[in-house]
C-alpha cells in the first residue's frame, strides 16, 4: 500500500523542467506505512442484542466481531486499526451514512461499519467498507449463518476487506494444525491440536499417548496426514478430523515419515526408510498403489508438490550435504537448486507457485528463507538459535514456523512457540497458543 508518497519531489522536477508541454512526474517509491483504518463496532438493536446474549452467553457480539476484525488487520502488519475511543460517530449512524470529515479528523483512511440482526434464529451480518478520503463506499456485503459462527464472520469480513484493499486474497478464515507440547524436554507429551488462525477455538485431536510430528492438511481441510510413533516405529498416519478415525498409510516394512498431500488430495507423498537409505514414495489414497519416486543411495526426504502438481521439491544429501532439489512429479529431471553455504531443509512450495520456503542451517544459526523455484533470488527472512518448518498462508504472503529457545545449564528455560513472518521479512510475531507448540501447518481458506 502506498501511503504518503513523497510529492515534494514534484517541486524539484518542476523547477528544472523547461518545456512547455504537460509536466510529467515519475513516482517510483512510496512509504509502506500500515493503512489507518477505523473499525466501527457492528451495531445491534436492543432485542437482537438480548436474544444473542441469551443464546451465546456472550454480550456485545457486534463489538466482539469487530474486535476479531481489528485484531486480524493489526496482525497482518498492513493496517493500523485506530483506537475506538476516538470515534466521533455512533456505529448505527455511521453504517447508514458516515460523516467522512469526522473520520478523516482522526486520520482514518478506511472505515468499516456494520450491523447484526437475528433473522429466524440465524445471525445476519452486513458490513460496508468506506474510502474516507474519497468519501465513498468501496464494498457492501451481507451474510447469514448460525450465531455460534460469529468469530468466523469476523474472519470472513477481514478476508473481504483485505482483498478489496490489497488486491490479494486474504488468509483469515483459516485454521492451523500443530503439535501441542507439554512437560520437560526429555519427557515431552505431544498432541495434535487445531485452532483458528488467530489462536482461538483450540481443539486437541490426539490424547498424547504417542509421539506425533509434522501434521499437514489435505486441500479440503478435512483430513490430516502426520507422523506418529507406534511401538517405537515412526509411521505416516491419516486422520479424519470430523470422525477422529485414524489409519496407517500403506504397508511399508520400515519407517515412513515427512508426509504431505498432493495438491488434488488424492495421494500422499512421503519418505520411506530402510537399511539406512530413504527415498520418496507416493501412495494413491483410492487404490492404495504405492509408487517409488526417487531411487538414490542418499537420504531423500521432505517432499512438497508444486501447486499444479507437476513438480516436487525435496531435500537430499546426495551432493554430500543436505540441499534442495526439484524434479518432475514422476521423479525424472532431478535438479539441485540450492547452492548457498550451509545446509538446506524442509522445502515447501508456495501456493502461488513462484517461491520455495526453506530452513537453512549455517554456522550454528537457523534461518527461514525463500528462493525462486529455480533456486535464484535466495532471501533469508529471519535468523535465530533454533527455528524450522515453515508453512505458507493460503495466499502465499505469510509464513508460519516454530522456534525453540535454549535450555540453560540447569536444564530450564526451554520453550517452543509458533511464529509468523511476512514474505518481505517484516512483521515477525509470535502466534499465541495455550501450551508450547511446534510443526504448524496452515489450512487453505475455509470459505469460498
Amino acid at each position: 500500500m502506498i501511503n504518503k508518497i513523497k510529492l515534494s519531489l514534484v517541486l524539484l522536477v518542476i523547477a528544472i523542467s523547461q518545456s512547455n508541454a504537460l509536466i510529467e512526474v515519475d513516482i517510483t517509491r512510496g512509504n509502506l506505512d500500515p493503512l489507518p483504518i477505523a473499525v466501527s463496532p457492528l451495531s445491534a438493536e436492543k432485542e437482537t442484542e438480548d436474544n444473542l446474549t441469551k443464546e451465546l452467553k456472550e454480550e456485545n457480539i457486534g463489538q466482539k466481531i469487530s474486535e476479531v476484525v481489528e485484531n486480524n488487520l493489526k496482525n497482518s502488519g498492513l493496517f493500523n486499526p485506530l483506537n475506538r475511543d476516538a470515534f466521533l460517530q455512533k456505529p448505527d449512524i455511521a453504517h447508514l451514512k458516515p460523516r467522512f470529515e469526522d473520520w478523516s479528523l482522526i486520520k482514518a483512511q478506511a472505515l468499516i461499519t456494520g450491523k447484526v440482526t437475528l433473522v429466524n434464529e440465524k445471525l445476519r451480518v452486513e458490513f460496508r467498507l468506506w474510502d474516507v478520503l474519497a468519501g465513498k463506499e468501496m464494498m457492501a456485503l451481507a451474510f447469514t449463518t448460525v450465531p455460534s459462527n460469529w468469530r468466523r464472520v469476523g474472519h470472513i469480513i477481514t478476508d473481504k476487506v483485505y482483498e478489496r484493499l490489497t488486491g490479494e486474497k486474504g488468509y483469515f478464515d483459516t485454521r492451523i494444525i500443530y503439535v501441542a507440547e507439554e512437560g520437560p524436554k526429555t519427557k515431552r507429551i505431544k498432541k495434535l491440536a487445531i485452532m483458528d488462525q488467530d489462536g482461538s477455538n483450540i481443539k486437541y485431536l490426539t490424547l498424547g499417548n504417542e509421539l506425533v510430528l509434522t501434521p499437514r492438511f489435505n486441500p479440503t481441510n478435512q483430513m490430516v496426514t502426520y507422523l506418529s510413533y507406534f511401538r517405537n516405529l515412526p509411521r505416516v498416519y491419516l486422520l479424519d478430523i470430523e470422525t477422529g478415525i485414524q489409519e496407517v498409510v500403506g504397508d511399508f516394512p520400515g519407517m515412513t515419515f515427512a508426509p504431505r498431500f498432493s495438491p488434488d488430495g488424492k495421494k500422499i507423498i512421503m519418505s520411506f526408510a530402510m537399511d539406512g537409505n530413504s527415498d520418496i514414495y507416493t501412495m494413491d489414497l483410492e487404490n492404495r498403489i504405492v509408487e517409488r519416486i526417487t531411487n538414490h543411495p542418499s537420504i531423500d526426504t521432505s517432499p512438497s508438490y508444486s501447486p499444479d502438481g507437476k513438480f516436487i521439491c525435496f531435500n537430499s544429501d546426495r551432493s554430500g550435504y543436505q540441499q534442495i532439489y526439484v524434479m518432475k512429479s514422476d521423479g525424472t529431471s532431478v535438479k539441485r537448486i540450492s547452492f548457498g553455504k550451509g545446509l538446506y531443509g524442509t522445502p515447501v512450495w508456495s501456493p502461488r507457485g513462484d517461491l520455495i520456503a526453506f530452513t537453512k542451517l549455517h554456522r550454528g544459526k537457523f534461518y527461514i528463507g525463500v528462493m525462486r523455484k529455480d533456486g535464484s533470488g535466495e532471501r533469508l527472512l529471519t535468523e535465530n538459535y533454533y527455528q524450522e518448518a515453515p508453512s505458507w498462508s493460503p495466499n502465499g504472503r505469510v509464513l508460519i514456523f516454530y522456534r525453540e529457545t535454549k535450555t540453560d545449564s540447569e536444564g530450564k528455560g526451554f520453550s517452543a512457540k509458533l511464529w509468523s513472518i511476512d514474505l518481505t521479512g517484516y512483521n515477525e510475531r509470535m502466534v499465541k497458543t495455550e501450551s508450547d507448540a511446534s510443526d504448524p501447518s496452515w489450512s487453505s481458506l475455509l470459505s469460498n
Binding site: 502506498i2 508518497i5 517541486l11 517510483t28
Partner: protein, 74 residues
Amino acid sequence: MRIKLELKPDGTVIRSEILDHARMNKPGQGFYKVLAESALRAIKLCQPLRVPTKGYERWKNLQLNFDAREMLQG
C-alpha cells in the same frame, strides 16, 4: 499508472483523473485498481502540494506516473 492533476496556485488539487481508467475494472486487474485508489489517497493526503511560487500556468496541469515495480519489491 498515470494520474492527471489540475492544481490551484496554492497547490491544492482541483481535479484528479486516472488516465488508464478503463483498465481499473477489467478482470484480473485487481492490483491496478488497488494501486490507483492508493495513489489517489496519497495525493489527497499530500495536498496542498509544495509548488513553486512562479509559473502557475506551466504547472497547473500535472501528470503523475506511478510505477509500483520498486514499491512492491520485498
